[in-house]
């Protein structure tokens, strides 16, 4: 156990006599907390996951990592104070960051860290009394939240003390406690809401979607906020002039600080102050009294496996009509093995959690990036854009080639799975050419994740530039197919979802660099030939033929090339 956990444990145990008088066995309490904190230390956190950092080494100092990340986030929140010079407005922005980030951290940690169903098998059968268990759980929650909140608050606190005074800092600290209570309530309510409308089994996948949403929003806000701040630096907005602010929770906490620090403020700030003081306590009361009991009971169902015995009455009559996916699969594949790979990959890529967690955020990043690109170039008007091809050229080419990254991430991920051991089924069945299944899988990924974007792009492009756009789009398309298939071919092709994703991060890095280089070369060549359409057409045909040859080579991959005894 590291120093920080020891410190928290010591601090918490200062109140041992109090726990003892509550009927808690303090020695057991200490043991339980020790073990829980030790386990926290070895568990990768949401921030790790969001960063897509691979745990090459076993996680041992997760706590320190979490705290450091929280501190960095806290530093980023300081940008709120650069916004104008109205403290209420600044604090409203600060608390918006604070609540948002705290919520996103808690949302993923709550299930895994705080409500551990294994308790039911490990702790409950032992001679430990209920009070000890309840208090241990509460204290554990408290420590966990402190570990996130304290480092996150330090930069803001330091700023307030430096800019105002010590009393201001004190008020700020109290304010943060209120905001934290409020956030916990928010998460609780959200969890309950989700649990109400879905089965516990689906719960995990919904949480993943929320996490992905948070990650993308975070990325977008880091991209967009500095830009807006840059534009509005000298504009002074007083948010408390707008009565709608009363409906924004972050404003309440700004109101609390303003009122308690200066003892003066307008009516709206006063309203915020009252809400900010009252609601967290009200929320806390509701959480403890009403939500927590049913919440724990419901959460404990999440990972229990006996759920499945509930029969699926509704599904029984599902007719055997061909689904759209099957029709699409028929179009794009030439034989049944390929089609099998296509359908399998299509289904698993929408259902497997680790695949979604890795690929979906990058779709979001790319969309944010694409939007940013057009905001940045907003000085070119549309008519200019249409008529002046030299200004439009780079943007068009970037739009065409941008989605290679998405394609690469999805294709790079398709061979990995947490359930890689289930790949025994490829090996025991008489599959003569595993290459057919691999090719089917790659095609599924291309159709599913790349086609929608390229079709949208085609529509937009033809609308803007007319038919002249088509040759360039076709060349860009085939070039990307060529690059995608050649990267599949040269970088250890494997059956879909058949190997464990822990090894070569170095290989991944090399692949990205290789991709960048290829794109740079291809894109530059394309740039110079952009308006010479016969050349573009010839190259497109050549590129298409090369792609076709390459798919054939992948189809012919033999067992010898992909053999892998890791199942």
């Amino acid at each position: 156990m590291n120093i920080i956990n020891k410190f928290f444990l010591k601090t918490i145990l200062v109140f041992s006599p109090l726990y003892h008088s509550l009927g808690v066995n303090v020695i057991q309490l200490k043991k339980i907390l020790e073990i829980k904190l030790l386990m926290d230390d070895r568990r990768p956190t949401s921030i790790h996951q969001a960063q897509r950092k691979k745990k090459a080494k076993p996680v041992t100092m997760a706590t320190l990592g979490t705290m450091l990340m929280s501190m960095v986030l806290g530093l980023l929140y300081l940008s709120a104070f650069a916004f104008g010079n109205n403290i209420t407005t600044q604090l409203t922005i600060y608390f918006t960051f604070f609540i948002f980030m705290l919520a996103s951290t808690l949302i993923s940690d709550f299930t895994s860290v705080l409500i551990d169903v294994r308790d039911n098998y490990i702790i409950l059968p032992k001679p430990v009394n209920d009070r000890t268990v309840v208090i241990a759980r509460l204290l554990h929650v408290l420590i966990h939240i402190s570990k996130v909140v304290l480092p996150m608050a330090i930069p803001g606190l330091a700023y307030i003390i430096a800019e105002y005074n010590f009393y201001g800092g004190l008020v700020f600290l109290a304010d943060l406690v209120l905001a934290t209570c409020f956030t916990i309530f928010l998460i609780n309510a959200l969890y309950l809401l989700i649990l109400k409308f879905t089965t516990p089994q689906r719960f995990q996948s919904i949480i993943v979607f929320i996490q992905i949403f948070f990650t993308i929003t975070l990325y977008a806000s880091y991209q967009i906020i500095p830009r807006i701040l840059g534009d509005l630096e000298n504009i002074n907005i007083d948010i408390s002039k707008n009565y709608l602010a009363v409906f924004a929770p972050p404003f309440w906490f700004a109101g609390v600080w303003k009122e308690l620090y200066s003892f003066k403020g307008n009516t709206i700030e006063l309203a915020g102050f009252i809400l900010g003081i009252l609601l967290p306590f009200l929320c806390l009361f509701i959480v403890i009294k009403y939500l927590a009991p049913s919440f724990n009971a419901k959460l404990s169902m999440i990972s229990s496996t006996d759920q499945g015995t509930s029969p699926a009455e509704k599904h029984e009559l599902k007719a055997k009509r061909k689904s759209i996916v099957e029709i699409i699969a028929k179009w794009f594949t030439i034989n049944s093995q390929e089609k099998t790979g296509f359908l399998f990959t299509w289904k698993l890529s929408s259902r497997s959690r680790d695949f979604r967690m890795k690929v979906y955020p990058s779709i979001g990043y790319l969309l944010v990036y694409a939007v940013m690109m057009f905001i940045r170039k907003h000085k070119i008007s549309f008519s200019e854009f249409q008529s002046n091809s030299s200004a439009a050229k780079p943007i068009v080419l970037i739009s065409i080639y941008l989605f290679s990254f998405l394609l690469m991430i999805a294709i790079g991920q398709v061979k990995y799975s947490e359930k890689y051991k289930a790949s025994w089924m490829y090996y025991i069945t008489p599959v003569k050419q595993p290459g057919e299944i691999i090719l089917g899988g790659i095609k599924a990924i291309i159709v599913k994740f790349y086609f929608p974007f390229i079709i949208l792009l085609a529509i937009a492009g033809i609308y803007l530039f007319g038919a002249a756009f088509i040759p360039n789009l076709v060349l860009g398309f085939f070039n990307q197919m060529l690059i995608a298939f050649s990267i599949v071919y040269i970088s250890n092709p494997q059956l879909p979802f058949s190997i464990h994703d822990s090894q070569n991060k170095a290989g991944n890095f090399v692949r990205v660099i290789f991709l960048l280089l290829l794109l740079a070369v291809v894109g530059t060549l394309h740039y110079f030939l952009y308006s010479i359409w016969p050349a573009i057409l010839v190259l497109a045909i050549l590129s298409g033929v090369a792609t076709w040859l390459l798919t054939d080579a992948i189809r012919k991959l033999s067992w010898k090339k992909i053999w892998n005894e890791d199942f």
Binding site: T305, Q307, G308, A312, K320, L348, R351, K421, W424
Partner: protein
């Protein structure tokens, strides 16, 4: 009679570690072969070789006269394998998973679908046919795996601990199924640690230890050789050294000061 499986001087090394050491035996159609041995004896290595999962072995393995190394695909098509651990892509539904397996066996889609429905109905799981398997109990997953091993109507069925996680009713179904399949001329290769089950279902038992065959024969023959004991006692007598017999005593003694 022509043997279905013919293993001659089979050896397998992992580096310097010798897992299988010159194993030879023949299996005939309609036989239920109980293949037993202690942990690490080489059971699962044998099974993996038979299923075509391991190809770099020494010696000869023939299935219905076909060399496993040369005609791997043809051999795989004749074998149905039910793996020990319920490792499957559990975000799929049984219908999807089994359909996918059928496609890998190049089965006709309609036949495959009809069989899947009937087999799952026989297991009492028709209501779960379109439910994702991540919510299934171990026993339900095991039933899906069993169906996946029988789906293409194979000549040889390799079962690796097929009863794990099944309730008593399902165990009876599987035991009956095994004897019915054997009557139809199918060959069953049954690996298990549950000696009482092996004793009852198999008409021939092969006991391996440290990569060698140490006993081979029907349960009756083994009893004649080893004295009138249960299979469990025969197993212990052949594979454990004396230290094992004292283990229980030592465990009890751990309490004394």
């Amino acid at each position: 009679m022509e043997p279905v499986i013919s293993i001659n001087h089979l050896s397998k090394n992992y580096g310097s570690k010798n897992v299988l050491n010159d194993i030879s035996f023949d299996v005939y159609p309609g036989q239920v072969l109980g293949y037993i041995g202690p942990n690490g004896a080489g059971k699962s290595t044998t099974v993996k070789i038979l299923c075509g999962l391991i190809s770099d072995y020494e010696g000869d393995v023939k299935v219905k006269g076909l060399d496993l190394k040369k005609d791997t695909s043809a051999v795989k098509a004749m074998i149905g394998y039910v793996p020990e651990l319920a490792e499957l892509y559990d975000v799929l539904t049984p219908a999807e998973f089994l359909g996918f397996m059928g496609a890998l066996y190049s089965m006709d889609e309609d036949i495959c679908e009809e069989r899947i429905t009937r087999m799952m109905a026989a297991f009492g799981m028709e209501a779960n046919l379109h439910q994702r398997m991540d919510s299934f109990s171990k026993g339900m997953k095991q039933k899906v795996l069993l169906a996946s091993g029988l789906l293409h109507n194979p000549e040889i069925i390799i079962l690796d601990e097929p009863l794990s996680g099944l309730d008593a009713n399902s165990v009876i179904i599987i035991k009956n199924l095994i004897s019915k399949l054997a009557k139809e001329g199918k060959t069953i290769f049954y690996c298990s640690h549950m000696m009482d089950v092996v004793e009852k279902v198999s008409d021939r038992i092969i006991l391996i230890d440290k990569g060698h065959v140490v006993a081979d024969g029907s349960f009756e023959e083994l009893k004649q050789q080893q004295g009138n004991k249960s299979l469990e006692q025969i197993f212990a007598g052949l594979t454990s050294d004396d230290s094992m017999n004292n283990a229980a005593d030592e465990l009890i003694n751990a309490f004394s000061k």
